[in-house]
Subunit: 249 residues, 3 copies
């Protein structure tokens, strides 16, 4: 029901995201009836946030300039009272990303951190071998760490993987299903973060709408993989999102 609600609410989502997935993210938001806007000039992000219903901050191809834009936009979002979501892409990979995410978490009150296990470990300062922007491998008590981070920053935390978890710091929802083919195309995690932003824009402070989004996304993955051909998965994800958001699946 979460995607249907987004479709009815048609929230405008301001995305400061990476150029690798910008097109896929815009099309994914359009597919569920949200309106995307991408803008990262420091001089205008405040204005853009003021007309938006939600802000996504994704550090995938961040640079010094866009980092500043994220901070300006995030503060404005806090001021005007719209939800802000952080996607800390590859935060464990470089000192610059670790510092940046620390800054962002200090300057901005986030509603949600949406990450993979490697990124969670990096935020928590746990040792982890996080291959580039991939999740990587290591030992971590995902549930406890996610809860601790959610409490520390007073926000929801979603950690996606074979089984997704979503927590408010107290309770945890587990969402199984999906298909690993989703990890073989770029941007599925980034798009999920954008969709979560749209979900919080229509129903804030609600863990269950996020869990519903995760369930729908697992369904999307299962349907999309039925095509079996990797090259069409991106299109299938858009198709399935559109069907579910339109109440047709």
């Amino acid at each position: 029901m979460s995607l249907l609600k987004i479709n009815q609410g048609n929230p405008l989502i301001h995305c400061i995201t990476n150029y690798v997935v910008a097109n896929f993210t815009a099309n994914g938001l359009l597919a569920i009836g949200a309106s995307p806007v991408m803008a990262d000039e420091i001089a205008e992000v405040g204005d853009m946030v003021s007309v938006a219903s939600g802000l996504l901050v994704n550090i995938g191809t961040i640079n010094g300039r866009t980092k500043e834009a994220m901070i300006v936009a995030g503060r404005k979002a806090n001021e005007v009272g719209i939800p802000v979501v952080l996607d800390p892409v590859g935060v464990g990979a470089t000192a610059f990303r670790r510092e940046t995410v620390k800054n962002l978490l200090r300057e901005i009150k986030f509603d949600l951190i949406r990450c993979n296990t490697g990124e969670l470990a990096a935020i928590a300062g746990v040792n982890w071998d996080s291959k580039g922007v991939d999740s990587g491998v290591g030992e971590i008590d995902i549930e406890q760490t996610a809860k601790a981070i959610a409490k520390q920053y007073n926000c929801f935390v979603i950690v996606t993987g074979e089984v997704d978890i979503a927590t408010n710091g107290e309770s945890i929802d587990y969402i199984a299903g999906g298909h690993e083919l989703m990890t073989k195309i770029t941007g599925t995690g980034c798009l999920l973060s954008a969709i979560c932003t749209a979900a919080l824009a229509v129903e804030r402070n609600n863990l269950s709408i996020l869990s519903d989004v995760l369930k729908d996304y697992k369904k999307v993955a299962e349907k999309a993989r039925q095509k079996e051909w990797l090259g069409t998965v991106q299109q299938e994800v858009l198709n399935q999102l559109h069907q579910i958001a339109g109440g047709r699946a």
Copy 2:
């Protein structure tokens, strides 16, 4: 016939455009037999314009640096005598965009402004609720405003919507048809602006070639929507452009 002419002329189109639609724009230009080149470094845009047959300026993800590049490129285009097209994406959304478009219109002589109703309203200084980069809703005499802007800046103005209009400030062409599915994927307006640049590159100062482009694009929309699946519309647009430009549809 307009796309066929572009295909025969094979113009090189220099695009300073946003990173959300850069790939789709490049593929769309290739599909109609034009050659795209994307370059936005201030130090080189003058050189690039000098070898190009047309310049597209699209402010979708503009920043301070690319704004300067647009001005340098636009002036050079005026100097060497190639057509310049403005796509004022979301100009009504922020003060920075309004200022930028004012600057661009002062510094550069454009051949065409290709916009939606909300963007037209913002350029004309008319009150309008322009949701992000979407068209939005409001009250405006589109025909009179488009004509006035065309006269003021001595250029063609195209306002796309359910019925497109194209004007030289005196007469107006109306182009109906198409399909609203085109508004559910990102970049169809941006690509249209790029195609209009290519059209003016092969036949300048000609309103009727622009109207022909709009008719062909409406046809593309009608064919593309027959697939009914949102995720494949982007591909279908490329397919149909390629067919029409190749004289096969």
Copy 3:
């Protein structure tokens, strides 16, 4: 066998590439079982290179900032001993690109230059009419020039076209086949450069693995064009890469 080897090795490839093809490049690398990471902030590229197995430098939409990032990344790659590949997109089109490539070739020891004939001519200082980022037309002894450049910079040189050539400065491999449809979508050359980076990451200093990649890519082109529709070629390329890398074709 080259793609299969990449799939087994799963190298992390750091791409500093243009925003037009970033998504297609990431998906293409994922399709063959490599892991892409895109990062171009000067403050972090050194760290990113340190965890990567190969570095791709593509100047397609270069600017002053990313040029510096390329130099920092390239030097670090030389220092830590991972392969570096140069894709000198449209180097002949502007003085800035010519200067940039000169700088890059002076500051960085490349393992491979992957270019088209027009770009080869520009690097060699031969007269050539290189339409934008397209290959263009002119007179050049491709084999001799490629060999000379390979010797001068002590690297492999691949020049793609109707017949690809790959040289180490002494011998030359010729790879025929493919389909011209590959030149009608953007990013096929850029993706090939990324795949060559992945190939050198799993087997360095080996001309024959590069020739194998070229053969596989020609096969991809032949399979992809069987769909006949331009709009789906991008997807077909990903499909075919995935099949070959998975040992299924």
